[in-house]
């Protein structure tokens, strides 16, 4: 079982990049520990800026630095970064097209027992709606490393959400990665599961369970929520009986909404959305919460089976 968290990989990647790039700056809001970015702060104190518990200032300061030639990474819990500093992200980062990567740590329900104040189940919806903002929810430690390397190469705004705990490995060191291109982890003829972030390993598990029952299920890792890889969605929409999206996010405006928006307009197909319910969430570790809402491997597999049964029933009705 992998013990390395995605946030640690972000720090390692930035440490490596900073060896040759003096313009990389990391900014935190009293969040260096929870972001696992302390090694960077220690090794490059001149390229690290502490702003205290002030997320609005964090994002505006990052934008100001970026406008003066810095490659800025503003790192703060996703819950605060995506709501408290939303206007700063909208105007100073997205609208002004500054070279700022907003890194939302402990995303989704990582702080599962701390209450809704610490959840960020609206961040995909919020940031996707900002013109010129890109949104990424990488799954495992290999993918986050490659993503950060790619983002370092351009000068455009982005939001990246990572979870708090280590995520099960999906890929390996030699993974193939192309920015803004979804990764097809496995092929399926009956159903394709489209997942993002921490839900990808759960979707992989679900696909394995379904295969054992003779259902041909595949998995797409849609780590790029914006720009969404529409081409891959439509390619599989044409091949399978239904799509099932899986996300650690609200039902509204996340991966499921974005996927359904594409299929509804270009190739209507049944899209079942697995997401967190619209209401107060039960407290617990992330795995406990996912299990409770049927979002773990068996839960996802069960929803897929129900969907396939409904699709078959619909087909019979149409036939009559």
């Amino acid at each position: 079982m992998n013990k390395v968290t995605n946030r640690q990989v972000i720090c390692d990647t930035l440490l490596k990049a900073a060896e040759t790039d003096r313009d990389i700056v990391v900014l935190c809001s009293d969040s260096r520990g929870s972001a696992s970015i302390t090694p960077f702060a220690r090794q490059y104190p001149e390229q690290f800026v502490e702003l205290g518990i002030a997320e609005q200032n964090l994002v505006s300061v990052a934008a100001g630095m970026a406008s003066c030639g810095k490659t800025a990474f503003a790192v703060s819990p996703a819950s605060f970064l995506s709501t408290r500093s939303y206007e700063q992200a909208k105007i100073d980062v997205a609208y002004s097209m500054t070279n700022v990567t907003l890194v939302g740590i402990s995303g989704g329900i990582s702080y599962g027992a701390l209450g809704m104040s610490h959840h960020s189940c609206q961040d995909i919806a919020a940031f996707s709606a900002l013109p010129d903002m890109r949104v990424y929810l990488p799954s495992d430690r290999f993918q986050i490393g490659r993503l950060i390397q790619e983002l370092l190469k351009d000068q455009k705004p982005a939001y990246v959400r990572v979870s708090r705990s280590a995520t099960e490995d999906v890929y390996g060191e030699d993974m193939e990665f192309e920015l803004n291109k979804a990764i097809v982890i496995s092929e399926g003829a009956d159903v394709m599961l489209i997942a993002c972030g921490e839900m990808v390993p759960y979707a992989v598990k679900a696909a394995e369970l379904l295969q054992r029952e003779g259902i041909s299920a595949g998995v797409i890792d849609m780590y790029c929520l914006k720009p969404l890889d529409e081409e891959t969605i439509l390619r599989y929409a044409r091949q399978v009986k239904c799509l099932v999206t899986v996300e650690e996010h609200s039902y509204f405006g996340g991966l499921g909404s974005l996927t359904a928006q594409v299929t509804a307009g270009k190739y209507p197909i049944r899209v079942t959305q697995i997401a967190l319910p619209d209401g107060h969430l039960i407290s617990g570790t992330n795995h406990e919460v996912f299990h409770y809402y049927h979002m773990d491997g068996p839960g996802i597999a069960n929803t897929v089976k129900i969907t396939l049964a409904e699709v078959r029933a619909d087909a019979v009705c149409v036939g009559n």
């Binding site: 300061v61 003066c68 030639g69 700063q88």
Partner: protein, 272 residues
């Protein structure tokens, strides 16, 4: 009349033309900040069309972004573009001269509009200067009504904490906002005390529409080490046009033809 005062009168003439033609803009605040913009652009700041991409140029942020019309006129007068293009197209369909500072306009550093962003973005620019050991200064101009925005105080705290003596804020303290006096709407006094509490050097300018006094304040600010400086400029909203002075109704009032003629006449008399 000295050169700067003449310049600021010229700027007011442009502003009146722009807001009258467009039926848009925020003329009251434009006129109160006109002398501050004049002094910064024509005396204090190291900025010019030739240097607009020079990393050593001074940075300017109009945090009270609704007075973009005044800024567009100042940049036009400074030679960044033909000021008449700005005057003729301000807030018109497809124009780059939109109602709040737009980066597509040469000389504008970042897109602005919502209040309470300037100090924080300025902190970022000033920190970058320190990091790169560059000598440019960052100037931020705020309105006094704007000082009700809480984000200002996060920025002020960070600027004081990091002793950003390369950052200079100005509060265009004209005591009026859209709904009345700042004292009635939301009393932010004393701003001097608030800045001091956050470890800023405070310079009060008794007449913030007096170019000579403003020059002295900014020169003093540039020499001050170890703290950021705020210039609190006591100005008059609608300054220079008799019927607009000290009237909150002119926050974004639109002139009739008669009022326009009157305003032009008053400015032409001063220019003569």
């Amino acid at each position: 009349m000295d050169v700067l005062t003449k310049k600021s009168c010229r700027l007011r003439r442009d502003i009146i033309e722009m807001v009258y033609r467009s039926g848009a803009g925020h003329v009251g605040g434009d006129l109160s900040v006109a002398d501050i913009l004049t002094v910064l652009y024509f005396k204090i700041m190291n900025v010019s069309p030739e240097k607009q991409n020079n990393p050593e140029r001074d940075r300017f942020l109009l945090s009270k972004g609704h007075c973009a019309d005044a800024l567009y006129c100042a940049l036009g007068e400074k030679g960044f573009y033909d000021v008449n293009e700005a005057i003729k197209t301000f807030c018109q369909f497809g124009s780059r001269f939109i109602g709040h500072p737009n980066m597509e306009v040469p000389g504008i550093e970042l897109n602005f509009g919502s209040l309470g962003h300037g100090i924080s973005v300025g902190v970022g620019m000033a920190l970058a200067a320190k990091m790169d050991r560059r000598n440019y200064r960052t100037y931020v101009v705020l309105g006094d009504g704007e000082m009700a925005e809480g984000s200002n105080y996060e920025g002020m705290m960070a600027a004081g904490h990091y002793k950003l003596d390369n950052l200079c804020a100005t509060v265009d303290l004209n005591r009026l906002q859209i709904s009345g006096t700042t004292e009635q709407v939301m009393n932010s006094a004393s701003l001097a005390d608030k800045f001091r509490d956050f470890n800023w050097n405070v310079i009060e300018v008794k007449d913030g529409n007096n170019c000579e006094m403003l020059v002295r304040a900014y020169e003093k600010a540039a020499g001050y080490k170890g703290k950021p400086t705020v210039v609190i400029a006591h100005t008059v909203k609608g300054k220079g046009i008799s019927f607009m002075e000290n009237q909150s109704s002119w926050h974004h009032g639109v002139m009739t033809e008669e009022q326009y003629q009157q305003a032009v006449k008053e400015l032409e008399e001063v220019l003569r």
